[in-house]
């Protein structure tokens, strides 16, 4: 299959030599070489060659390019594969049935795809051209299909197949795919592997978004165990699953391909048939329980007749009463049936004959709107329960109706304020956890590997910004300017992503988030980077946690060097002052070098003094010495209140 000649982008960024403590560990699902073995990469190309594409690899590419620093990558096994979700072919007028499937690696990225036919034609005949967007229309690429019947989207694991028939100019097909996800087993194995090697990192970046507090619990379990079991000190950045895309019922419309001769036969009260002389109903997607609409006949035009039987050549209908007729002028369109049922004062249901509300993204508690039905349009109502084929509404009194689902739009509505309030509640249990930074929201960023401008987690932007500076510098320092090429706005310049300044609620919920500034400069900034430590504690600020971790690690390694040393004891078994002072001097010299030295961006802390206990009895076996590090962090301006005196 020929594609439009284009320039390819080869990621050949090279990072500089690794400075101590400047390594970022990236955890992400991969389809290739998912051995949870940490490997250091200075080149995104090398990482892509080894693991193939994934969200983690995409983050790493951005990180290396922006910071010129290497990363430690841990490829996690895929525990939950990416899945095809919402599809919408209702706007298609051509007869080619478009299907989407995963390739051998599975779906590897979350996409919001739009395929728009620009030059129509018959599948298998050269000349068809379409534009394809994987990022909700933000960017698109022109694809010449040639004589091919499928197109594999590079890197993403998506294969788009075109059934026989026609594509018509301006037809639009939409679909969504979710990204794969790891599980607690993979994460635990990764942490064990990380502990077995010697490279230390400032932070972990969890590439995939986490859906609930259970998953954040997996992360905190491992990052805390990294301290308690492995004596290493770090924190993890993760992002809460975004509000968008909102769940929407798939709308699949099937069309009879070509102009076969159709024979309509009146059989009885039920079971009337439509037989075709060429082609196949099953190949074209018609299925039992679908509703079909026929037009273009002399005597058999009807709307939403239920199919009770399907073979390649024969459709059997339920109660639709046909008249004997043979014609090659008919148009047949079908789609899964949507049945609205009045059950009682509450609990009315909407049942679909195929497809899945769960796959489409609906969950109990969602507020939905319904439009396009004959008698059951709903402004808003809550979903009481949801299964693959049944939505049960909380309060709306439905009217019995059966309609082709391609006519009806059921979609979730969720305002930013409602969403952030729900996230606050959902993650409220993640408290007093200073080793995890949870972010909300997304920003648009061009992926250097795929060329799409995906909506990426705010945690990615925060992490990249923090590694562009020393670890004591907050990633929300305004003087550093907006996040380079990270966007909150749509093509018209309207802010569409979560903006803490406008929408609010994220910081109150303890989330790292993005913002704009009322008086500029234009662009996206990180509002604050917060750990889930106690509210407004020193260690609730991620940059303070970074400094504290370095302090902990320095004390740990320098005191470890003293293991086995003998200290001179007083008569009571305590160490002599001279012995302790000598030990303290060694530790404090290391601390001074790591934290107090004047660096390009200033010292990392104001004071760091380790003191050994004078009261420990070291004449016992084993002799344990207690020490406390008194770490005074740099203060950071967050609020400036100005009074203007007018006279």
């Amino acid at each position: 299959m020929a594609t439009l000649p284009q320039a390819t982008v080869t990621i050949d960024d090279e990072s500089g030599a690794q400075a101590q403590g400047e390594l970022c560990t990236v955890f992400g699902c991969v389809a290739t070489n998912d051995d949870t073995t940490p490997r250091q990469y200075s080149s995104a190309k090398a990482l892509l060659d080894y693991h193939g594409y994934s969200q983690g690899v995409a983050y790493a590419a951005l990180h290396i390019d922006a910071t010129k620093k290497p990363i430690l990558f841990v490829g996690l096994p895929i525990a939950t594969v990416g899945a095809l979700g919402h599809q919408d072919s209702s706007a298609m007028t051509g007869t080619s049935r478009i299907t989407v499937a995963a390739d051998s690696d599975g779906y590897l990225e979350e996409v919001d795809a739009i395929l728009t036919v620009t030059t129509g034609g018959t599948i298998g005949t050269t000349g068809i051209v379409f534009t394809l967007s994987m990022d909700g229309g933000r960017t698109d690429k022109t694809i010449r299909l040639g004589t091919a019947t499928s197109y594999t989207v590079p890197y993403l694991g998506i294969v788009i197949s075109f059934g026989s028939g026609t594509l018509v100019a301006d037809d639009v097909f939409r679909f969504r795919v979710s990204a794969p996800m790891w599980d607690s087993t993979g994460l635990a194995a990764a942490r064990t592997a990380l502990a077995a090697q010697q490279k230390l990192s400032r932070s972990w970046v969890i590439a995939e978004e986490i859906t609930n507090s259970t998953f954040s619990g997996y992360v905190t379990t491992q990052v805390n165990a990294y301290e308690t079991s492995n004596e290493r000190f770090t924190y993890a950045r993760a992002n809460v699953k975004d509000r968008l895309p909102l769940a929407k019922m798939s709308k699949i419309k099937n069309r009879m391909v070509g102009t076969p001769s159709l024979t309509f036969a009146e059989v009885g009260a039920t079971g009337d048939t439509i037989t075709r002389d060429t082609g196949s109903w099953t190949d074209e997607g018609f299925a039992v329980n679908d509703l079909i609409t026929v037009s273009g006949t002399a005597s058999n035009n009807f709307t939403d007749a239920k199919i009770t039987g399907v073979t390649a050549t024969v459709l059997t209908l339920d109660t639709q009463d046909l008249v004997d007729e043979t014609t090659a002028a008919a148009t047949v369109i079908g789609s899964p049936a949507l049945t609205f049922a009045e059950v009682g004062s509450t609990g009315d249901t909407i049942t679909r004959s195929s497809g899945s509300f769960v796959t489409d993204g609906f969950v109990a508690g969602d507020i939905v709107t319904i439009t396009g039905s004959g008698s059951n349009n709903v402004t808003t109502d809550a979903i009481a329960t949801v299964s693959a084929t049944v939505l049960t509404l909380a309060s709306t009194d439905l009217v019995a109706e059966v309609i082709g689902s391609h006519r009806v739009t059921i979609e979730k509505v969720l305002s930013k304020s409602t969403w952030i309030s729900a996230k606050d509640t959902a993650f409220a249990s993640v408290s007093s956890q200073k080793r995890i930074d949870l972010a909300v929201g997304r920003l648009r960023k061009l992926c250097p590997i795929t060329g799409w401008e995906f909506r990426r987690p705010v945690s990615w932007a925060a992490s990249i910004r923090e590694y562009q500076h020393d670890l004591h510098i907050p990633c929300w320092r305004k003087a550093d300017g907006p996040l380079l090429d990270w966007s909150m706005v749509d093509d018209d310049g309207n802010v569409v992503e979560f903006d803490e300044r406008v929408d609010g609620g994220a910081l109150a919920g303890g989330f790292t988030c993005a913002r704009t500034w009322a008086n500029g400069p234009n662009g996206a900034f990180i509002a604050l980077s917060l750990t889930r430590g106690d509210n407004n504690s020193i260690l609730s600020r991620t940059h303070n946690m970074a400094v504290a971790n370095l302090a902990c690690q320095t004390v740990h390694s320098s005191t470890e060097d003293a293991i086995g040393q003998s200290l001179v004891l007083n008569d009571d078994g305590t160490a002599t002052e001279e012995s302790l002072v000598a030990l303290e001097e060694k530790v404090n010299t290391e601390l001074e070098e790591a934290l107090l030295k004047q660096r390009k961006e200033g010292p990392r802390a104001s004071k760091a003094v380790w003191r050994a206990s004078r009261a420990d009895d070291l004449s016992t076996v084993p002799a344990t010495l207690t020490g406390v590090l008194d770490l005074v962090e740099n203060g950071t301006l967050e609020q400036i209140d100005t009074s203007v005196k007018v006279s």
Binding site: E227, F233, K434, G533, D534, S537, I538, L539, N544, M545, A548, N549, A551, C552, V555, H556, T559, E560, A562, I563, G564, Q565, S566, L567, V568, L569, N570, G573, A575, T576, E578, S579, S606, K607, R611, L618, S619, T620, V621, P622, A623, T624, L625, T626, G627, V628, L629, D630, L631, V632, E633, G635
Partner: protein
């Protein structure tokens, strides 16, 4: 220490095939031979004290004691009717060997050996006569040793081998010391790691 140095000097000289016995003051009285090397404290010069040469952990060195001592070499030429110069010539041969041996002995003992002065002295029984039956050379030197901090049983202070640490990092922001003691952590400091 001087007694032990004398014994070790004896051993060293024997290794160089030097037949002259090395004795201390009491031992000299029991000798029947003229030729001898007498090692003894220099009571006139006494001792001096300096700071420790290097830092030792245990036992701790408080000072170095520089001990004044002297070696008197008695030599007698084997020639019949030897004159004074012949006796002195023999003495100088012994002096050279003694100086070399002392350097090695004290280096092994890690005591610093420093020759101070040397002179020929009049034999007590040659006073009033011009007949010399031998020559005596007095070599004054110092030899130092560490003054270690030990108890009466010469035991150094006990030691404890560190097996483990309990580490805590407390984090605070710069502010007024809550208890006025800069060596303690503020009461409201947060715990970053440890207990």
């Amino acid at each position: 220490m001087i007694h032990e140095i004398a014994l070790e000097l004896q051993t060293a000289l024997r290794a160089k095939l030097c037949p002259i016995p090395v004795v201390d003051r009491e031992g000299a009285a029991k000798l029947t031979s003229f030729e001898r090397i007498v090692i003894e404290h220099d009571d006139d010069a006494g001792d001096s004290f300096t700071p420790p040469r290097s830092a030792f952990k245990n036992p701790k060195h408080d000072y170095r004691r520089v001990i004044g001592a002297k070696a008197t070499i008695y030599a007698q030429s084997r020639a019949t009717g030897a004159l004074e110069f012949e006796h002195r010539r023999r003495a100088e041969k012994i002096i050279d060997i003694v100086l070399g041996a002392m350097r090695l002995v004290t280096a092994t003992r890690q005591n610093k050996f420093l020759p101070k002065t040397g002179r020929f002295v009049l034999l007590p029984d040659a006073e009033g006569t011009d007949r010399r039956v031998g020559a005596a050379y007095e070599l004054k030197f110092t030899c130092d040793r560490a003054v270690e901090r030990r108890d009466w049983a010469a035991a150094a202070p006990a030691e404890g081998a560190l097996a483990a640490f309990t580490r805590t990092t407390k984090v605070s922001l710069q502010g007024a010391d809550d208890d006025g003691d800069p060596t303690t952590v503020p009461a409201d400091a947060e715990t970053a790691c440890g207990a």
